[in-house]
Structures are given as structure tokens and as C-alpha cells.
Symmetry: C2
Subunit: 242 residues, 2 copies
């Protein structure tokens, strides 16, 4: 049985200010919750409509009705379980190897997909500008499919960070060097820009190596690639070469 | 001023059966509508809240209020315009060069993103199994960003088609040949499978060349890539080599 206060708390966590105030976020579905439980995320409480997760201590696990789950879920078709986790402290930035940096990514689905790509391509560090959508947004957590547990994510002043880094800084633009014909290093920061505006002006000045994903279709068209698919192509090419 | 019947008709087009019965679909936003208008799509009627598209004949253009647009829009934040188009007859399948074939893709966003990728990589033919989400679904039309006008799309019995084709048939699986180390041809059909289940059993039997996108992260994890990002990587690699 869920109290009104619990419903109110969990629903409020759909908003960033309440996640921040309570230092809590939630995840839904067996797979994502399992990934978070077995990683370093500290479980606050699990709510489930059936007999799963019986290995979780009884004071941290409640069986609720489907109707109750509907009230706390952020999904249009709720799964069978929802879990609250503590937001961990940010770890130190791993400033080596390949690092992906996001300049104002606003769409939760894009951030989740990019995190999943980092995980696939063995990238351990994702850096987000302060304007980037919150990684603990329920839609992001859902889209990451559990990879949120395996990639280090930091929100920082991207401009200040790029000014100081000794790593090469890559960015993609429409008319630069063909990525397929460029020798790519094993270390570097790959900056991906905002969905509508691309890489912002002040960040563009800090790019040390400009790349282009060539277009093979009608060259009259100026439409760009979606940021998540562009990230997929760039990471694939860096890893193929190294 | 919109009549009740017009509102009812346009709203009904969010469902496939009504699109099919009326042979109409709709698109929203200046950019997508412009792309469709300048291509071969036949405009049925344009509804706009402002002074754009003044080059369209007055009997095909109505200025409506924002309130009216809200009633017919499929978007949570409506744009400034919505246009009805006739669903064109399917063209003959272009069975040469690179062709992408979808085996039961269900998510509209994924289909839209894949169509946009086809456009970017100069792929002129997209083949969809009958179970794949309808290309004229408003969410697909929106996600294509206009590239729906530049890629030929056919819905067919995929199994029967692949049994007859003379082109090599590619599919990606978890443990096959590393795509980066495979010499890829300029012609072939690239099959992408369903979001949850991958390529179906009967289609898998018709794959003549099995490929794998190698995972560089923790190899214990069995999580796969999202189908749209996997398509991005595969098309990028085919085009890089050719």
C-alpha cells in the first residue's frame, strides 16, 4: 500500500528540482533496475506488482497494485516495477582515452542513446555541459537501458574544462575534414552539439580538430544527421581505427 | 475556420486504417511541409496560423487559429502549420545498389531516423515488412525531417522478396564476422531486425552474409545497440568502403 506522501514524492521526482532536493531518482522495469542494483547505485526502495526481486531486503521492497504503479510511473504503459535510488556523488573526471562531451543536448532520448553508445564503444567518461538534460530524468534513465551504471557522467562548465584540457578536442561540422580519411587518435574529447544549433560559438573556438561525416545523398540538401546517429558513426570510426 | 468534419477527418488520420481509407496523411511544420510540397507529394490542403506558404493556391490553403491547430495537431507543442497530402502509389522497387530492409520495426521514431539515414547515405530504396510501422504515421513523418520525399519506400512480403532477390543479403548478429574487417560490396540488401527480437527466424535463414558490430565495452554485457544507431554504423561502414 502506497501512502499519499510516497506517491507525491515519487511523482515529484519527474522534475529535476525535486530530484536535486531529495537526491533521489527512479528507474522502471526489471532490466534497468537489475543493472542499477548490481552496480554501485544505492537502492532506496523497490515497488513491484509481482514476485520479482525477492532477494531485496523486505524493508526496501513493497508489493503494490497495478493501479498504484500507474500513479507513480512516468511511462504511458507502466512496467511491473519501479525503484528509487540515491543520486550518487559525481566521481572525478577520467581525462584519458576517448571522452564524449555534450554541448547542450536537450532531448532525453538522445542523451540516453548516446550513453548507451558510450557503453557499447567502451567509453568510460561522458561530460555534459550544465545546459544538457539531466541524466536522472526518468526518460533518460529508461533510454540508457542500464548503461547509466557503466559510464561516468559529470556536469561541468564545458567551456572552462575544454580551455584547460591537454587532450585534442574534436567536433563535427558540415565542411571540414572527411572523418573516413583522417587518422584518428586513441585519446581525445569528442564534442557533440545541440540538436537545433549544433556546437555553440564559444565551444567551437576550442575545437582543435574539425571533422565531417560526408553526405552521400543529394548534396543540395542541408539537413544534418540526428545527434545520436552522428555520435554512433563517429565513435564507430574512432574505434575501427584503434 | 475549420468545420467539425474537417477536424474529425484530420484527427482520424492519426490511425492507419483511416489513412488507408482516405488515402491521406498529414505533416506538420514549415520544413517538412516544404520538402513534401517541392517533391512529388500532392497537396490536398494546407492549414496555417500565419502568413507562410502564400504561393499555395487559395483554394488549397486556409488560415486557422492556434486553437484550431491544437485540435488537429498530433504534436504536444503544435507548430504553425499542418498539411494534408495524398498517399502516393508505391513505385516499383529499385533492386540495385544498397537497399535497406526492415523486419518488423515498430517504433515510429526509429523508422523516421532510419529513413533520414538512408537519405544521408544516398540509399534510394527502403523495404519494409508488412509488420513494420506505417511510414505515414504522423510520428514517422515528423522524425524523417522531409527525407520521406527522397527515399522510395515499399511495404512487401519480405520473406518472399528475399527468397527471390539476386543481391547478397546482410544481417547483423552478436557473434559473426567483424564488419570493420569484412570487404563490403557496393550492392546488397541490409536487413535490420525488430527492436526487441532482432531479425526473425524465417528471415535469418535468408541472410547470406552475417556481420557483427564489435562491442568495445564490457564484453559480459549482452545488451544490443538501438536499431537506428546500429543502422547508422552499418551504413557508414558500407559507404566508407565504397
Amino acid at each position: 500500500m502506497l501512502s499519499k506522501n510516497q506517491i507525491k514524492l515519487i511523482s515529484s521526482l519527474q522534475q529535476k528540482k525535486h530530484r536535486f532536493a531529495n537526491q533521489l531518482f527512479f528507474a522502471e522495469g526489471v532490466k534497468v533496475i537489475q543493472e542499477l542494483v548490481k552496480s554501485n547505485f544505492e537502492l532506496e526502495h523497490l515497488y513491484t506488482t509481482n514476485e520479482d526481486f525477492t532477494d531485496i531486503a523486505s524493508n526496501k521492497r513493497s508489493v503494490i497494485s497495478e493501479n498504484e504503479l500507474n500513479k507513480i510511473s512516468a511511462l504511458s504503459t507502466p512496467n511491473t516495477c519501479l525503484a528509487l535510488f540515491k543520486i550518487p556523488l559525481e566521481s572525478k573526471i577520467i581525462e584519458s582515452g576517448l571522452v564524449v562531451a555534450l554541448d547542450s543536448i536537450r532531448d532525453p532520448g538522445n542523451l540516453g542513446t548516446i550513453l548507451r553508445l558510450c557503453d557499447w564503444f567502451g567509453i568510460h567518461q561522458l561530460i555534459c555541459s550544465k545546459e544538457t538534460v539531466d541524466i536522472y530524468n526518468p526518460k533518460v534513465v529508461q533510454a540508457t537501458m542500464g548503461s547509466i551504471a557503466r559510464v561516468n557522467v559529470n556536469y561541468i562548465d564545458l567551456d572552462a574544462f575544454l580551455k584547460k584540457t591537454k587532450l585534442p578536442v574534436f567536433g563535427t561540422f558540415m565542411d571540414s575534414e572527411n572523418i573516413y580519411k583522417t587518422t584518428l587518435p586513441q585519446e581525445g574529447i569528442i564534442v557533440m552539439g545541440n540538436e537545433a544549433n549544433g556546437i555553440s560559438e564559444n565551444i567551437e573556438k576550442l575545437i582543435t580538430k574539425r571533422l565531417t561525416i560526408p553526405r552521400f545523398g543529394d548534396l543540395q540538401i542541408t539537413e544534418s544527421l540526428n545527434v545520436a546517429t552522428a555520435t554512433a558513426i563517429i565513435l564507430s570510426e574512432f574505434r575501427r581505427q584503434n
